[in-house]
Symmetry: D2
């Protein structure tokens, strides 16, 4: 890809619930991504997704929501471009394809599917308090760990530009 001339697209993944500190982290990630001119891509729903969009919106950033349902009204109020794909959780794979890097904030099994898909197709994954992976007893360190929202954004922008 040659995204040299365009903005970076960064996916923010996490639970649809109001879990903390993931939502506070997501809002800060959204703010920082917007300040850097990145486009925020997410699943468009509640919880971590909504917090990230709210943060981005507060800094004038552009937010994109790829929705599982066919109903655009399912998007949270801070999504600028809502795409109702109607594919259910298959949209997790498309979300990963659409971005240059993934930031995973805690999250549940949906986030795990996004991590797996991203690693499979070679998209960088930055994790903050999220899944850790082992296979056959050995730790797999494919997720780049971040220590804070700012650290996650910095690492995502670098990895996504590579």
């Amino acid at each position: 890809m040659s995204e040299v001339d365009g903005p970076l697209y960064i996916a923010v993944c996490g639970s649809a619930t109001d879990e903390e500190p993931a939502c506070s982290n997501a809002e800060e990630v959204g703010r920082l991504l917007a300040r850097e001119g990145a486009i925020l891509v997410c699943g468009g729903l509640t919880g971590v997704m909504e917090a990230a969009c709210r943060g981005a919106r507060s800094e004038g950033g552009l937010t994109v929501g790829l929705l599982p349902s066919e109903d655009r009204a399912d998007a949270n109020a801070y999504v600028d471009v809502a795409i109702p794909l109607g594919l259910g959780e298959v949209r997790n794979a498309l979300l990963v394809r659409a971005c240059d890097a993934v930031i995973a904030l805690t999250g549940e099994f949906g986030t795990l599917s996004e991590i797996g898909f991203a690693l499979k197709i070679g998209k960088p994954v930055i994790g903050l308090d999220t899944w850790q992976l082992s296979n056959r007893g050995g730790r797999v360190t494919a997720i780049v760990e971040a220590g804070s929202p700012a650290d996650a954004v910095r690492k995502a922008l670098v990895a996504g530009s590579a």
Copy 2:
């Protein structure tokens, strides 16, 4: 759906070639959609898609391209939000799902697939110099015919708001 509070999303469909008058019509459709505050959704490539995006951009409108490839760089220069779905022509079906109404400008078999999918799921289709349909010898008038770009946009906005 309750899009009362949000913008309309209008899909513009047509060939990736520089055929006329489809491209001139697309550019005018893009301009008019932007003036009305609608978000333009299209396949993101060349020809009618690019002309529509160029028109919308010239009036400050927002343009979304759902790309068949996995490569965002395939988007034309006037796409604001480029989503590389990597699904090939399956994206035609998702383009239709993402919009409130379809404007078909001449077009080839890809446009025909979009028309068929839109009619199947109940999305209004406005046609300008495009496909005409018959089944078992009888004309099927499911495509709303428009006489000009302005007429097409007017009809799409009305039908898409219903």
Copy 3:
């Protein structure tokens, strides 16, 4: 593709309703495909799809249903391999991808979407009492017309082997 060593996969498309003569034609098409050793692929539901599967099953043929829902129980009783894709009407595009040729029996807008996808990606379409296409006032003869179920099957096997 090099299907020289394997069976042909032929898609049978049409309405989910019990319309005639489409269903009788579908059953005969299914029988004939099975006798020729072709695998029948369809949308897996009722009407033309069920009739085609019933015909194929009666001759010991193998039937595959690509279902729009996530629920395998939606398949008709004559589907041997039921794949619940959960993609809604997007499965129409995948059905076309999965086959070597399409036989369209009358049908409605879903069938039209399948015809459009097939022609777009270069899969042969054989029609029996189905859609006729015009564009900008000129007849488009991309659908190969058949005069009977036997003629449709013969033409599909030839075109699908090319």
Copy 4:
């Protein structure tokens, strides 16, 4: 779902490489699934997928391959029904949807994405020498561990019937 009257569909997931003991385990899993009358669903390619299909075929079982490419010829020689989806790795999500339970044999990131999707949509996952999951430092035991191919098949059939 009411699969009471039909066969179980069991997905076998793992690497496309010839890694051991995953491939030997896959072949045994395939044999045992076929003996139990289950339909084997897999990604249709080489490595673990091919070994599983070879095992099932040797016992007269039915094998289904959901291929990432548009080319049916990419299927391994032991696939009975090859569906070229043309969706790339998105097919991992559809593979999971198509089955009643997943058996994961070691595997890499693609297998991880399948595990994530399966757990997200509530499909049971049986693992043999495969991924282990932790989140925020705590072990997540959502994958049912098996001690042998026979144990994996037994657990998959029980969980998939529930």
